[in-house]
């Protein structure tokens, strides 16, 4: 299927090309396209030229399906589908291969440092690309899981507003939690 080309301009005035079908993975771009305000180039003042290609790469891969390898449980089964369709072993295998392939792609795609991760997250948020936002947020969460509060503050540029006494008290409770594990 041939598709109209769309041009995106990054914050530092570089222009990138993307298929319309791919661009529709972004809610924001989709609305601009559907709104008919397409005037040659879409300026994206919040996305720089080192992030935009990454975003385009994601959109190309997902070309409008707007999802990630994880199916988001949205309160149950697909309404349009028959209740309990005949279980198709073959299709299930194909589905598994597809998901595995996508997971592998995501893994390679997500191989970058933290600054890029946050920039990409901001871009995904700005462009409303749900799948990409989920992907980056999950990655960020998995990275900070084991960190200390100090590292978290540094990470998110947050200043502690607890008094040393208050903080001490909170740490005590946490120690007790750890103690609990050991005690059992």
């Amino acid at each position: 299927m041939s598709s109209t080309k769309i041009f995106l301009k990054s914050s530092d005035d570089k222009t990138f090309e993307i298929d319309e079908t791919a661009a529709r993975a972004s809610e924001t771009l989709k609305n601009i396209i559907d709104g008919g305000c397409l005037d040659g180039v879409i300026p994206l003042p919040n996305v720089s030229s080192n992030i935009l290609p990454k975003v385009i790469e994601y959109c190309k891969k997902h070309g409008g399906d707007n999802g990630s390898s994880k199916k988001i449980a949205n309160g149950g089964v697909d309404k349009d589908k028959e209740i309990l369709p005949d279980y198709d072993e073959e299709e299930d295998k194909r589905e598994k291969v597809r998901v595995d392939e996508l997971k592998k792609w995501e893994e390679e795609y997500m191989d970058f440092d933290q600054q890029v991760l946050y920039d990409l997250m901001l871009a995904a948020n700005y462009l409303h690309i749900k799948g990409l936002l989920d992907l980056t947020v999950e990655k960020a969460a998995s990275m900070i899981r084991g960190r200390t509060p100090d590292q978290i503050r540094e990470n998110f540029n947050i200043n502690s507003d607890f008094t040393p006494e208050e903080e001490e008290e909170m740490i005590l409770i946490e120690d007790e939690w750890d103690d609990e594990w050991a005690f059992d």
């Binding site: 149950g76 089964v77 309990l84 299930d92 901001l122 059992d184």
Partner: protein, 372 residues
Amino acid sequence: MAKENEENEKMRVEESVPTENLPEVLIVEILSRLPLKSLLRFRCVCKFWYDPAFVKMHLSRSLISNSNLNVVFRNLLRTKLNFRGFRVSELHSYSDDLDVWAQQVVVRPNHPFKLPHYLGIVVGSCNGSRCLYTCNSKKEILLWNPSTRRHQKLPSIPKEIPSFDYNVYGFRHDPTTNDYKIVRIVKLRDPTYLCFLQILLFIGLTIANRYPVPPRVLSFPFDLQDEEYRELPLPDFDFVKNNVPMKLGVLGGQLCVLWPFLGVRVEVWLMKEYGVRDSWEKQFLIEQPWVMRNLNSLRPIRYSKTGQVIFQIDLKALVLFDPRRGRVRNLKVLGAPDYLETESFVGSLMLLNGKDGTEREKWKKKNMKQRG
């Protein structure tokens, strides 16, 4: 797991430049995917993370992304070694891979009750994590947030009736008054054995109102918001008219009815929009004979991340039902009690007044002395 640690290490080394400020909404988004233990550790990052607005945002994000799956187990078996009633498990897996599930380790927080020997009842949870329990021995009612390990006790309410017996049946948060409404059914001990329904206000601390108990609770559920019995429209089918016994539950925030159909299958219906008759939808069928046999004890717990349904069967087992394939599989959770009652909740940063486990410290010391 090892890979993850390696990754963490890598990130720590690389992390020389502090990142640009992420907007609040994205920080909330990230925090909503964290397990309880991390949330607990990050409590002391800054006070703003406990701002009611932030807590609310975090909670609603967790609900939307269906993350932060946690389950609290109530151990029904009381032995010398296993005295504590509640255990919390983080069913936080990102997949429905049964191997991953089996590795889920149960965390045992200090329960908020003062005495280790007690029987508690899980009344339910609302607003995500706020679970309410009652304690039979002292008849205490508490709100408990296992994520932050804080609880709040309902102060004793002046007894207006000299002797009564009661059971607590449910509660909800009333956003207009920012209070919790608790429903209990009171039975008089005098010769009349009169039953009536009572509403307690948690913060307002009053026994608000009394209502007679209706003959058919399902058809006329009690609306806690308006404190009125409302007629509940049921789907218009033969088995409703024929009064086939059924089970009620809640699944994914929607009212759920399990109908046994001619003893061969269970039909699971959901009321997509509360109070709207046309919104009843048959969601799926379960046809496994052993599920059928245990129908009376079948209780929906919640959806897993990929849309499978966790059921509890017979106080013994958790099962995972795949609606797409119609299959039921056993769900093993490491360290879960043998006889259990399960309640799901969403991890929340909500702080309540009382610190958990403060009394237990004393008990622990005493116990150690006895052992030694």
